[in-house]
């Protein structure tokens, strides 16, 4: 849904989203990367299993929740990418 204006000028990093390796720019949020992905959504709701994607990008809607490096229910709009970060889209209710 979104595309970058320029290439990263500080050396690109790569992160993994559900197994897919994607390029990212240091400093940008994980949610920003999700919005560029071919499947731009973050989670399925626990109540009805509806797809949700980032909506507010500033931490007040909680629709961008995904699993980041093993930790579930992370607000991806508030987390900056790190090289090798592993993101998993969250399907419905949390697993423990």
């Amino acid at each position: 849904m979104f595309r970058k204006l320029h290439e990263s000028d500080r050396g690109p990093v790569t992160i993994e989203i559900d197994g897919e390796i994607v390029p990212a720019e240091p400093g940008e949020s994980v949610a920003a990367v999700i919005m560029r992905a071919s499947a731009p959504w973050a989670r399925l709701t626990p109540n009805t299993g509806s797809k949700r994607a980032p909506y507010c990008m500033m931490g007040v809607c909680f629709d961008c929740l995904a699993e980041v490096d093993g930790q579930s229910s992370v607000q991806t709009c508030l987390v900056s990418v790190r090289p090798g970060m592993r993101i998993s889209r969250q399907a419905g209710k949390r697993r423990i």
């Binding site: 626990p46 109540n47 579930s72 229910s73 209710k93 949390r94 423990i96």
Partner: protein, 374 residues
């Protein structure tokens, strides 16, 4: 008279009584307070529980057992009347024990209680070792300290907020009236009989009045000659994000709701009417839950709330009719969910009939009067 009965308070107790009365054809008006009034009904854990109750007061055990046995039918009728599913499950309830001493203490306490009952039927509980507990809870890791549990066969849980919504809707469906934002400030006996109830600048009258206003009952009850010794006790509860089903049975302090969130309760604090939540309680409750179920450590807390239990000196309910003001009743307890079937059933029957039955006299608050020294 504007109504046969005015019930003051539309919390779990008042709404259940009102629903029961409406269902018996009484013209009932239930008056509820304001949006920010203290409401224990909004802070209930949701257990429908029997085992372990009634120590030193067997009558309470039997009262509770009757209510628990009637709960399924009560929930079904409510669902039929209001199309609200109470999510009632009663496959048993556990009280986990940590360490051997805890296990022994639990067992002997339950035995003592059972002996007091002088009841010939089998106990409604059994002790399970940790292996048996694990077999019952396969989807979740048990803490290392868990030595076993007591399992109450009749115990279960329901959704307390749905219960309240359903009771309130049920009152109206059965022909009763419910008015919110109507905090009652006065109850007066009328000369020819009956009572006038004042709220805001309005007054309404009824032949009988039931005070079920929770912690707000003291002043009102006094106006009709009922001096009820109740005090507030704060209980804080934690609620997590929604989790895959991992806990099929409720325990006394950790249960998983149908929606998936896990509730963790509760503190017992004597802080007057303070309903604020504290970080200390969050820490203590989390630590306690993790001792039982360490696998929950990465689950997020989404809500924390506090409610005020209505506590009597022995912790058991007060059901009383005023002697100076016949026709005025008071109903106070802190187990409003478990006793909802009783309140909507037998208790509503008594109030409709104009007097409390013999078996309920033991719940009068005169049991708290200290006999004067000779």
């Amino acid at each position: 008279m504007n109504a046969d009965v005015i019930v003051i308070g539309a919390g779990t107790v008042g709404a259940a009584i009102g629903y029961g009365l409406a269902g018996r054809g009484e013209r009932v008006l239930v008056l509820d307070g304001g949006d920010r009034d203290v409401r224990a009904a909004n802070a209930n854990f949701g257990l429908v529980w029997l085992h372990g109750k009634g120590m030193d007061m067997p009558a309470y055990y039997f009262l509770t057992r009757n209510s628990v046995d009637a709960w399924q039918g009560f929930a079904e009728e409510l669902a039929e009347t209001t199309a609200i599913d109470l999510q009632y499950e009663h496959d048993g309830g556990l009280v986990l024990c940590l360490g051997e001493a805890d296990f022994e203490e639990r067992r002997s306490s339950l035995l003592r209680l059972h002996n007091q009952l002088e009841d010939s039927s089998d106990p409604d509980w059994e002790m399970l070792d940790d292996g048996a507990v694990r077999a019952l809870l396969p989807g979740i890791e048990l803490g290392r300290e868990v030595s076993g549990a007591s399992l109450g066969r009749r115990d279960g849980h329901a959704n307390p907020l749905r219960l309240l919504a359903s009771l309130q809707a049920g009152i109206v469906r059965k022909g009763g009236s419910l008015r919110g934002g109507s905090t009652v400030h006065s109850v007066e006996a009328q000369a020819g009989g009956g009572f006038t109830v004042g709220f805001g600048s309005e007054k309404l009258s009824a032949a009988r009045v039931v005070i079920a206003a929770g912690i707000g009952s003291t002043a009102l009850a006094r106006q009709v000659g009922l001096d009820v010794p109740i005090r507030p006790q704060r209980g804080q509860i934690l609620v997590t994000e929604k989790v895959m089903p991992v806990l099929p049975l409720p325990t006394l302090d950790v249960r998983q709701t149908r929606e998936g969130s896990i509730m963790i309760g509760a503190t017992h604090e004597e802080v007057g009417l303070d309903c604020s939540t504290t970080s200390e309680a969050a820490a203590v409750l989390s630590a306690s839950a993790l001792r039982q179920f360490p696998g929950l450590r990465d689950v997020s807390l989404v809500r924390q709330w506090a409610g005020l239990r209505i506590l009597t000196p022995d912790g058991f309910p007060i059901y009383a009719e005023s002697e100076t003001h016949p026709g005025a009743f008071v109903a106070l307890c802190h187990s409003g969910v478990t006793l909802a079937a009783f309140h909507a059933g037998i208790l509503a029957d008594c109030i409709a009939g104009g007097q409390l039955s013999e078996e309920l006299h033991v719940f009068h608050h005169r049991r708290f009067d200290v006999p004067k020294a000779a």
